[in-house]
Symmetry: C2
Subunit: 106 residues, 2 copies
């Protein structure tokens, strides 16, 4: 089974790759690898495979270079799931706020 967006995004290096593509635009596999000196280039390549599996990347080959571009659409699934929780944490924050105001200078 291909990985879900939830799984793809669970790893900090994979989030880093997505962040990089978001902020820098399309990059080659080697450019991406160079940004993560803590792991080897094939290590990054394996992360790219997971992200591809989750459909979070588009790739375009140009000669011997392979350019990766972010496809953020699968992230909507996470956003959708989170949406149902938003009103919950807003309620929680307001409750906390009320509680702290109630005890101000007490």
């Amino acid at each position: 089974m291909p990985p879900t967006a939830f799984q793809a995004v669970a790893d900090p290096i994979r989030r880093g790759i997505l962040d990089l593509l978001r902020t820098s635009g399309p990059l080659r596999a080697g450019d991406l690898a160079a940004h993560f000196p803590q792991i080897s280039r094939p290590g990054v390549s394996k992360h790219l495979r997971v992200l591809r599996g989750a459909q979070l990347l588009q790739q375009e080959r140009r000669g011997r270079e392979l350019w990766y571009r972010l496809d953020p659409l699968p992230l909507r699934q996470i956003k959708g799931w989170l949406g149902q929780y938003q009103r919950f944490w807003q309620a929680r924050l307001e409750a906390l706020k009320r509680a702290s105001e109630g005890t101000e200078n007490n």
Copy 2:
């Protein structure tokens, strides 16, 4: 190291537990386990431990029963991360929409 919210939420059973607590309010460990017959009760207990580690649960003991309540606040971290991507996928969707309109009945 304790698990992050990203890791906690990567597993479908753990998302199911959170969903259940969100929609049904506080539940006992046993109630939760009963909703996941595909795995054993200790299996659910281990998932609860991960969710606790990510601070997504509050627990209250009442006699021999242990009631779990959702604490959604750590999910804001995920929401925050996703926020930076939202305008990207909106742009992508609009591009797709324009493209489909451009080829309508062609």
